[in-house]
């Protein structure tokens, strides 16, 4: 601030450089996605145009109609939703029980259980891939959304337990003591007293877990063959011939699966930042 009076030139040079940096960062963060959005509204024949003419080329919705006419993409949306919602619902239920126990109760071996949960959350998925595959085929759950849903618990449960525990610890104890004095059982206390207070935490954690489950690729690729989820459908999206990648429809499909996530993230942005920093587990 003093610089503005003592050396205005230097001050304005600094300001200009700073805003140049801001613009560079914004372009870096948004341009790849913006370009994908643009491509999803362009005809396949326009893809060869130079960037500026490409940007000004006529807009078309063909790619979107084509994507929604694609049966495997529609099925993918359905299966992705079922699997992700199911895995998140189970994790939130189990996770809030566990978080209540870990955040509020004193018992032997608590530290040990916390370490186990942290260890599982950094588990390389590949370490369980073979074992899970034999289990899933044994129970005839191959290509069944239920099998995929259960396998997703390996990353959704540790994450929800870890983040919810840190939230539960911060809830003032008086609420729960009052309930105990009135003779409420632990489950009554959890559902009637703590759940309303935990609501923002549950929404945030659920959303983050949902994003992870929605984006998961390795298990979805391995445990499903015809009932694919959207990441697998998008990765395998093919055109008329093997050498002709249909970039327009691929981008349209990508935008369709990404827009809900971005919308949710923007609506809940404050909660998400606090959830991420409380958990600091996964990206």
């Amino acid at each position: 601030m003093y610089l503005k009076r003592t050396n205005p030139t230097l001050f304005y040079i600094q300001r200009i450089l700073f805003y140049a940096l801001v613009i560079v960062i914004t372009l870096y963060l948004l341009l790849p996605f913006g370009w994908a959005v643009l491509t999803s509204f362009r005809k396949a024949t326009d893809l060869f145009l130079p960037p500026l003419q490409f940007a000004l080329a006529p807009t078309t919705l063909d790619n979107y109609t084509q994507v929604f006419a694609n049966a495997s993409f529609r099925r993918g949306l359905f299966f992705s939703t079922v699997v992700a919602v199911g895995a998140v619902a189970i994790s939130l239920l189990f996770g809030s029980f566990a978080a209540y126990a870990l955040g509020r109760f004193r018992f032997k071996g608590k530290q040990f259980i916390m370490y186990i949960i942290l260890a599982v959350s950094v588990f390389p998925q590949i370490a369980v891939l073979g074992g899970l595959f034999t289990l899933i085929t044994r129970f005839n759950l191959f290509d069944n959304p239920l099998g995929l849903m259960v396998s997703y618990l390996i990353f959704t449960i540790p994450f929800t337990v870890w983040v919810l525990t840190s939230f539960v610890r911060d809830i003032p104890g008086e609420l729960e003591e009052a309930a105990l004095v009135d003779g409420a059982s632990p489950l009554q206390t959890l559902f009637l007293i703590l759940f309303p207070v935990m609501m923002p935490a549950l929404v945030t954690t659920g959303l983050l877990a949902f994003i992870n489950a929605w984006n998961e690729y390795l298990f979805a690729l391995t445990f499903m063959s015809t009932n694919r989820t959207v990441p697998v459908v998008i990765a395998n999206y093919s055109g008329a011939s093997q050498f002709d990648q249909p970039w327009g429809p691929i981008m349209a499909a990508s935008i369709v699966v990404t827009i809900p996530l971005i919308t949710l993230v923007l609506i809940f942005q404050r909660n998400i930042v606090s959830g991420l920093t409380a958990g600091a587990v996964k990206g």
């Binding site: 109760f105 390389p124 998008i234 920093t277 990206g283």
Partner: protein, 315 residues
């Protein structure tokens, strides 16, 4: 009785203590029941499958008939036939290529993400009009599914009409050449996760006391000195936790390579890609499990190194 009296505790306190233990015992049981669903789920999807993987790593087994496994010791890891042919995966040069590429990928992408994340966090942390917008824009790459960002970048790398492949490099096929492909992968990962890093660093920055900087300003310390002497040391704990989690994530990279390079090239670019090819495509349950165990050990070893070398605390 009287002789024993001093060693015997008075009668009243044990009753009281027993009662306390009764309540605590009941609480412990309640905690146990509350934890039970989570523990069962973890045993079912993590513990037992991990045990199966370790079990199969010392067996000769096929994915379609896991029941017919036979014990062969460590031959999945290292075994030379009478003709001198190496059958263990550790004798396969492709595995070591995958390890080298994964380590290169991890070191460079995590380092670049940290530097870029720090720059973005410092910019967003300073007051200027448009700050709220930039803060929101930060969340976009992070919210995009990895497979989608892989496809987006594959399109940009395309040598006949990609923004980078055709526009910047004039038709160079980045992904076709293994020496440039790994850098193309790093660029995708850096783009996707820098904002996550920036978010964590930003949260750390905002917890630093502002009056400390006012004092430093009074004392005439430059912004540059303030950053190296105050900001960085204070951010160390937050930065280290972020580094550990990002490194672990980068070490198990799979999606980007598999989508952008295909199953075969991914097997020599990512450790997970190699393991999956052995396990699923080649149906070698034994060898694939052995590779998985090796990856598990590598990752756990790196966790231990990080935690002991930097005394990282998770809480």
């Amino acid at each position: 009785m009287t002789a024993n009296a001093p060693t015997q505790p008075p009668t009243a306190p044990p009753v009281a203590r027993k009662k306390v233990r009764g309540i605590e015992g009941a609480r412990a049981w309640q905690a146990f029941w509350l934890l039970l669903p989570t523990l069962i789920a973890i045993v079912l999807v993590a513990g037992f499958p991990l045990y199966r993987t370790i079990f199969f790593s010392v067996q000769e087994a096929n994915l379609t008939t896991p029941g017919q496994a036979t014990f062969i010791g460590f031959q999945n890891f290292w075994f030379t036939t009478a003709e001198g042919i190496g059958l263990g995966f550790m004798q396969d040069p492709q595995w070591w290529t995958a390890v080298r590429n994964t380590l290169t990928f991890t070191v460079f992408s995590v380092a670049l993400e940290t530097v870029f994340g720090m720059i973005i966090a410092l910019v967003v942390n300073s007051a200027f009009p448009g700050r709220a917008f930039l803060r929101t824009a930060m969340l976009v790459p992070w919210a995009i599914p990895t497979v989608v960002s892989a496809q987006m970048w594959a399109y940009m790398y395309n040598d006949s009409f990609g923004l980078i492949g055709q526009g910047l490099l004039g038709g160079q096929a980045l992904l076709a050449d293994s020496s440039t492909a790994i850098w193309a992968m790093i660029a995708v990962d850096v783009w996707k996760t820098t904002s996550f890093m920036a978010l964590l660093i930003l949260a750390g920055l905002q917890s630093l006391p502002g009056d400390m900087y006012e004092a430093a300003d009074m004392d005439g310390a430059t912004k540059w000195t303030q950053f190296w002497r105050m900001t960085l040391p204070l951010l160390r704990p937050a930065l280290l936790v972020a580094l550990v989690f990002r490194s672990l994530d980068a070490l198990r990279v799979f999606d980007i390579m598999y989508v952008m390079l295909g199953a075969n090239v991914a097997a020599s670019t990512s450790m997970t890609g190699y393991a999956r090819q052995q396990l699923i495509d080649n149906q070698l349950l034994g060898t694939g499990s052995a590779v998985s165990v090796a990856i598990f050990i590598i990752i756990m070893a790196i966790v231990v190194i990080y935690v002991t070398a930097f005394r990282v605390k998770f809480d």
